[in-house]
């Protein structure tokens, strides 16, 4: 490679050969990780709470209310996915999509939010959903129980920011997540919230290593959030949520895909930057 090519590559990717990092001391990670655990526990508490109301509405046959509670409930799960996904069995029964099963919607193993979503938004009915609602509630309680005792591994927490961006790049930009309710933007924002929370907690440490990197990541988060904000139902009320994914025009899909891939690339280096394996 000619030297000027290095520069171009380096500017986009940080591909310059790197000697061993000045390495952030492991002690410095303790504080942010403890704070992150509080964030997760706080979201879990809300998640349990909202799931209770959501499943109660399903079981009461209150279609309208159940539909309204679907997206706001999922938000808490989508924010803490890096931790929730550590329990693969629960993740499958809570959040799998019909594509994950050979027989699709008809598959007897297909349960959780997206199975209920199919009933509420595709069949427009709460009929035959009771068993799914019960199962969801018990799975969510079980998740809550398991996370309480969990020690948070630093690699998982720091790597979680990148993992969330991979989620966004793989299923949110294309609008594949909530195909019946079209509430993808709620999940999109929640994944971004979760990733940004992690990034913000470790930002002071990352800034010591590479201030340009920190600025670029912040700028790209801002870009994504600005575009998402134009689809909020009520600019002054975050709880009012988002318009249907079908409303997102082609230019905005591009405007979202750009910074999302840059964030995925950049955040994939956060572990390395903080000297974690």
């Amino acid at each position: 490679m000619k030297p000027h090519q290095h520069l171009i590559a380096a500017a986009t990717l940080g591909l310059l050969p790197l000697a061993a990092q000045a390495a952030v001391s492991p002690d410095a990670l303790v504080g942010p990780i403890a704070e992150y655990k509080l964030y997760v526990l706080d979201n879990l508490e809300q998640f349990v709470d909202h799931t209770e109301k959501f499943t109660a509405a399903v079981e009461a046959g209150d279609l309208h209310n159940a539909q309204a509670l679907y997206a706001p409930t999922r938000v808490y799960y989508e924010r803490i996915e890096p931790i929730a996904e550590l329990f693969a069995d629960l993740d499958a029964s809570i959040d799998a999509r019909e594509d994950d099963y050979e027989q699709g919607v008809k598959d007897p193993d297909f349960t959780g939010f997206h199975r209920i979503e199919y009933g509420l938004f595709h069949e427009h009915s709460t009929e035959d959903l009771n068993a799914y609602a019960e199962r969801l509630m018990s799975d969510v309680n079980e998740l809550d129980h398991r996370v309480q005792d969990l020690t948070f591994p630093p690699e998982t927490v720091v790597g979680g920011a990148a993992a969330l961006m991979e989620e966004v790049a793989a299923t949110k930009v294309s609008g594949e997540e909530d195909r019946y309710s079209r509430t993808d933007l709620w999940d999109f924002q929640a994944n971004i919230d979760g990733a940004r929370e992690i990034f913000t907690l470790f930002k002071p440490l990352a800034a010591q290593e590479d201030a340009d990197f920190v600025k670029r990541v912040d700028d790209n988060f801002d870009d994504v959030e600005t575009t998402l904000a134009t689809y909020r139902v009520d600019a002054d009320d975050p709880d009012a949520g988002f318009e249907s994914y079908d409303e997102v025009n082609k230019n905005d899909r591009r405007a979202l895909a750009g910074p999302v891939t840059v964030l995925a690339e950049d955040l994939s280096t956060l572990r390395g930057l903080l000297g974690l394996n």
Partner: protein, 429 residues
Amino acid sequence: MDRRHFLRHAGLSGLGLGLAGLCPGQVHAQLQTRTQAPTHRGQEVTSAPLTQDAQLAYPFHGRHQQGIVTPRQATGMVVAFDVLARDRDDLEKLLKILTARITFLTRGGEYPQRDPRYPPPDSGILGPSVPPDGLTVTLALGDSLFDERYGLADARPRHLQRMTGFPNDALDAARCHGDLALQFCANTADTHYHALRDIIKHTPGLLMVRWKQEGTVPLLPPAPGDVEGSARNFLGFRDGSANPSIEDEALMDALVWIGEAHDEPAWARGGSYMAVRIIRNFVERWDRTPLHEQESIFGRRKMSGAPLSGSREQDIPDYASDPEGRITPLDAHIRLANPRTPETENNRILRRPFNYSNGVERNGQLDMGLLFICFQADLDAGFISVQKRLNGEPLEEYIKPVGGGYFFVLPGAIDDRDFLGRRLLEATA
């Protein structure tokens, strides 16, 4: 550098360019491979590929880009992208990154080492030292890039347009058009997957893949005593027999490359139009069609590739003494495509297609076909006129165009200081 010049000096120039990024031991190994590489004997662009030489390196710099009059490699792939660049500065950055990546990938070499706590710098699928493997990457722009986003509208090549459907088409929107297209060609498919993944990794936020289609051509050295011929397509016919000769530089300047005579913006000189069509072949049905009918449909013999009016592949079809189509039917593919009249001389195109095989359709039939790619200095006189003459041809019963697009191949980058698209940006500054 033109191809003939390149081939004549292949031993020298290929070596000189291959040196970059290799340590001395590897240079030695490369030298040995290079001198043992088979020589090309007057190969045409669609002759059956003869070499799998991993150290073969086509020079990237020149008046024209590679991958057009370059003898067709055994594998090819077209990838169309949406450009996400936010403004002209971003677009310039993208064009510079692409130029740098293509320069590196087509020369081959090694990536810088990286701390293992980071993701590695490349996919690693070609191992620690990336061979050039005959790779060419050809950069072309779609009509949509000349919309309001980057202020390029005034410099739009005159014939660049959005592909519209022809009567036999069943276009799938997910496999059509694009702001930018890259044509990858190499000896082996892994080399272009590696190159594509490298480019994706270096262009986050700038490019998004829209569709891709890969294909191959059979690498069959001629049997002893056999004549060299064009490679076959998936209908079993030799494809490319009547291509204009790449040895004839004046002809290439007239038919393929934009020059002063072509009434195009000055920045576009040295460029060309690329028409890409993904054309499904109904192979089961074809295989149930009598040989005689197959040959009438094309106007050529299946095994030899000879025109029905001749006996060898390279014989010139004779339509003048066959005005009623008793020997070569009037609606035979080659007769419609090129009636060989003075008025249709300027409709000639340089075809450089690949065969594709994608999987199985819901009806259990094979999804196979032709990744049709052709180059011309005038898209309307070239592909569009030829396709219009072909509309309604008997071959249509066996084929279905499902995707593709029209693109403008940028003029080449002259040297290390130049980048692909520089003249376009300067012309619109």
